[in-house]
Symmetry: C2
Subunit: 527 residues, 2 copies
Amino acid sequence: MSDPARLLELVGKGTATIGEVLAARVAATPDAPFIEHGARRWTYAEGWHESRRFAGFLASQELTGNRVATFLPKCPEAVFAWFGANMSRGAYVALNRAHRGTVLGDLAERSGAGLLVTDQTGWEIIGPLLPASLTRVLFIDSLPDTLPASLQAFTWEAIAASDPEIPLPSLPSDLATLLYTSGTTGRSKAVLLPHNMYCRGAANLAECFGYRSDDRFHDWMPLSHIGGQLHVTMTAVVAGACLVQFPAFSRQSFWDEVRASGSTVFSGFASILSLLLEVPPGPEDRRHKLRVGLIGNMPAETQSAFERRFGVTLLDTYGMSECEPLTLPRAGEMPPGSCGRICPDFDVAILDEADRPLPVGQVGRICVRPRVPYVMMLGYEGDSPATVAAWRNLWFHTSDRGRFDADGYLFFADRMKYSIRRGGENISASEIEQVFLEHPDIVACAAVGIPDKVMGEEVKLVVVRRAGASSDEAELHAYAKTRMASFMLPRYIEIADSLPYTDVGKLKREDLFASVRAAWDARAKRV
Amino acid sequence: MSDPARLLELVGKGTATIGEVLAARVAATPDAPFIEHGARRWTYAEGWHESRRFAGFLASQELTGNRVATFLPKCPEAVFAWFGANMSRGAYVALNRAHRGTVLGDLAERSGAGLLVTDQTGWEIIGPLLPASLTRVLFIDSLPDTLPASLQAFTWEAIAASDPEIPLPSLPSDLATLLYTSGTTGRSKAVLLPHNMYCRGAANLAECFGYRSDDRFHDWMPLSHIGGQLHVTMTAVVAGACLVQFPAFSRQSFWDEVRASGSTVFSGFASILSLLLEVPPGPEDRRHKLRVGLIGNMPAETQSAFERRFGVTLLDTYGMSECEPLTLPRAGEMPPGSCGRICPDFDVAILDEADRPLPVGQVGRICVRPRVPYVMMLGYEGDSPATVAAWRNLWFHTSDRGRFDADGYLFFADRMKYSIRRGGENISASEIEQVFLEHPDIVACAAVGIPDKVMGEEVKLVVVRRAGASSDEAELHAYAKTRMASFMLPRYIEIADSLPYTDVGKLKREDLFASVRAAWDARAKRV
């Protein structure tokens, strides 16, 4: 059962559910290591058992078929909650642990979850923001001293005391997760993803990356990101590999973690390569077992510098929350800067602004159609008009531009929609702006992404203050600090008399980039 | 300019607007006959001029970009209103002249029209049903004696007095028409159709049917039907042929009309073939110039009987309001019962209930993807969730089942959704039921289609009366007569104690067919 494609064939003739893949994996290698987290260890049989107990708990609470949200750092309990929900015909929603304030409350409300899984630290952040409908909370550590009387609170002991549920059958087309992705002009969109996307996607990734059952994943990617869910967790399950979990990426401890865990595989964004390359080279650089890294959208120079120095093969796969992976990169054959040939589960076309196909080599919008059912999103929840718009002419229109070469390799060119990509996180400019607009001194503001060689982009905010208002950049920065995820917090702030608009009243974002050197810099702490 | 494919190439390199096609046609053959209606005649230059005057009238009323609805029998004014609206960046909505009461009021309201074009007879029906927002009405005959004070009423003299407007440029993707199609469970859906669908569709049809500039169309198909708009009117424009308009299909006068008009081409539904075959054969049967008929979904035996007797080639093209034409039939090569090979503008797949492709020869759902942009609907207006559902996995899911043979010919099998198809009209069962449910004596009812060799299907209604209610079948029939289109009116009515439901409360429609012989028959006027 080391061939992931064969595992998928066994469970579902090409389409499958997450429950079926887990059952097949456990039947094949019950005693193989599944998750390691600090000193704690789970084999596949144990992880499966724990997920079924979670499903049993849901059944005892009459939450079968409900959604389960987590607000947690990377930990095994989040994985068991995900799989437990999916095995009881429910869906999973990972709330990004970095979010705060209005945005977090909105995401929690829109999750539609009947149960929240968090810890005491998380509770202090999310507790005051919960929607009234969410009355059941499960703490993975222990209960806080005081809790609202309206709340039904549990600890993980309730899971340990539950009978493992026999997984309920579901369909490859059933909703597995709801994943938030940054919008262009409004709120983050709630992307509805079916079971089969995780099963086929993971089988395709495991096959093209050559993952094996003796692989060990250095696993820090948040479960609120498609990378954490699909590229890492689900792909490891299909391959029968072991997940060694870490709460976050750390430049300081990355290599120590890799060495101590015996990791052979890692994942991340281009920004972590830049951070790791900032450390001066040393004799230890190649003392590790890493052989391959899956890194999204990396500059060719960063890739080759990293590969040369650390002796690790890096591969880029193209995709997004809505459909992933769209390309299957293969070591040793990739033209520099390419993210590979198209995954056979999809058709990809490069279209012009009128949806007409462009000739090979020309840059245009990357558009996608599935060739097999339920390998991409079911739609945006609560926003069918946005789904219809994205699906016009029965193509899913990505927000990216790219081109093919004559050999069928895809090259990403740039991003069309207005979101900011900072260190692997897609940030909606409008979500930043909304938080600042709640400040009494601010009458208008606009956020843009400023190119940055380490983070890819840094956030810059241009604000217009009310007449007579006195808040300066540092005060505005401090105000936002408790109200948004740290990754969204603008590094640069510029106070302006007005924002530039076109004659039809559209914000001219392109005019906001120029003056970054004159802006207040949170790192410099002065103009 | 007799080659329609070349005309389309000339105007738009494969995508075009209705205004561009009209302009190219008029430039090529300004003096060729365009429309004949009774004793009235228009050349292409004259029809173009009249449409531009209509656009000029819209501009003078500040209705540029608005929607124009017509409630008219087949007539040239409806065509000029359509083209005039499209040339001033507005859209056209043809309200089916057969509709009445609640359904008609609902369609008028949903049309979003800023102007209604009708006649005095139509006004008596639709006047009391108009939404408050529709305050401008143009009468093609003359003003009624009394009109509400709130109404701005015009006659065609206002058009004749308008300056011809220079057509405003629009895009192939712009909305050209809103077309109502019968729903499965609810109201008719409002299908949004772009310019390019009419241009490409007409060019494809004109080419495969071999229409020529000396063809004369026997034209009775209502403009509220995609057949009347696309297969007849627009296709004649592309071919440069002449439309000879008749207000409706009549078995009695059809051949007289064909002979007097010198028609070479006709269109219709399978039911008209049956009606024409009912007349006893005679020596006049082949005294006419008809050479080809476009007939939707005809039984192979009816087709061959008609072809043998009248010496006319019949061809079936498969399609629906949402996308049309999906197949391009070619005389002399069609396997019996097939509707032709797939039009190169589309991909068509036969999928199973989980959207997996079925092998050649197997019957499954007919699903469609466009290969060129804007050759099918933009979506259902006001019902994006229905659009997303119909577009799942980026296939447009028709409500039909069919199969391919090994040579790529498509065979229609049957209809999946619950609508009734009577004499070429798709009727929503639920719209019939809604009207009867407004009757005080009725507590429940259900409409089904009963197979009928002439009409394809006849409507049967099963009703459950309130305890103590006394209305009999004839009274219920008379009640409905003024409240719905005559084609929707149930021929059979059966009074029952209850309706059959499944154990989850779903109506078992299949149980309603059996007892047709025991039902009241409007034709027999007795049980």
